[in-house]
């Protein structure tokens, strides 16, 4: 239970930090900015698409609903 809460806190922190980064005027790098930087080079594009594809298959094609 504690670890489940820890995951939720981590997710909420990430979402909150993304908002802070977007309002920081460039002081902190948001995930969008990091993704944008990676997207500039072909290896970065390949890595981003591969990670995105892995998440898609793992979450939507290989899930098991706990009983």
């Amino acid at each position: 239970m504690i670890v489940t809460v820890a995951w939720l806190v981590l997710g909420a922190t990430a979402a909150l930090w993304e908002l802070v980064c977007r309002r920081s005027g460039g002081r902190w790098a948001s995930l969008g900015a990091i993704g944008s930087a990676w997207w500039q080079r072909l290896p970065g594009v390949i890595v981003l698409i591969a990670v995105w594809a892995f998440v898609g298959w793992h979450v939507f094609a290989r899930y098991t609903v706990p009983k």
Binding site: S30, I34, W52, W57, P66
Partner: protein
């Protein structure tokens, strides 16, 4: 009717039809049984589509962000300090995931991220929303190259 207004209307209709089609695809694909060929294919189709769109729009994106002159290309400076909080969050997530996997991956006391997410996936509507979000995240950099220009300007 003025051509500009007609063009806006056509674009609005096009966007609406596209949004409905994408929503229908999200609903259909998240209703498939996991670990089946259709489920893998339903995720694979957007992956192939993104790869094709990314290849086709890379030139346009480069022009939108850097201009067409070769000397104007500039890689945004991320810097370790600016990404440090993300590194800390990633390390914390990796630690939790590692602990969960070390305990077999299905521990109820130390669940992995997948196990936590699996609980939410019991509802079709949650899967639908998550699939739509996944698509939005993937295609965001290709839909409007100019959006990304803002991030790059902020990084300079």
């Amino acid at each position: 009717m003025r051509p500009a207004r007609k063009s806006t209307r056509v674009r609005l209709w096009g966007a609406t039809v596209a949004a409905v089609a994408v929503a229908a695809y999200c609903w259909w694909s998240t209703g498939l049984r996991p670990f089946t060929v259709p489920a893998y294919a339903a995720v694979g189709l957007p992956v192939v589509a993104l790869a094709v769109v990314a290849a086709a729009t890379r030139g346009a994106w480069r022009r939108a962000t850097h201009g067409s002159a070769p000397g104007r290309t500039k890689t945004p400076n991320l810097g370790l300090r600016r990404v440090l909080p993300w590194t800390v969050l990633l390390a914390a997530a990796a630690g939790l995931e590692g602990a969960g996997l070390a305990l077999g991956g299905r521990s109820s006391s130390v669940p992995t991220l997948s196990t936590v997410v699996d609980h939410a996936l019991a509802w079709h509507v949650v899967r639908f929303v998550m699939f739509a979000a996944w698509l939005a995240v993937g295609f965001a950099p290709t839909i409007r190259p100019r959006w990304r220009h803002r991030y790059d300007v902020a990084l300079r």
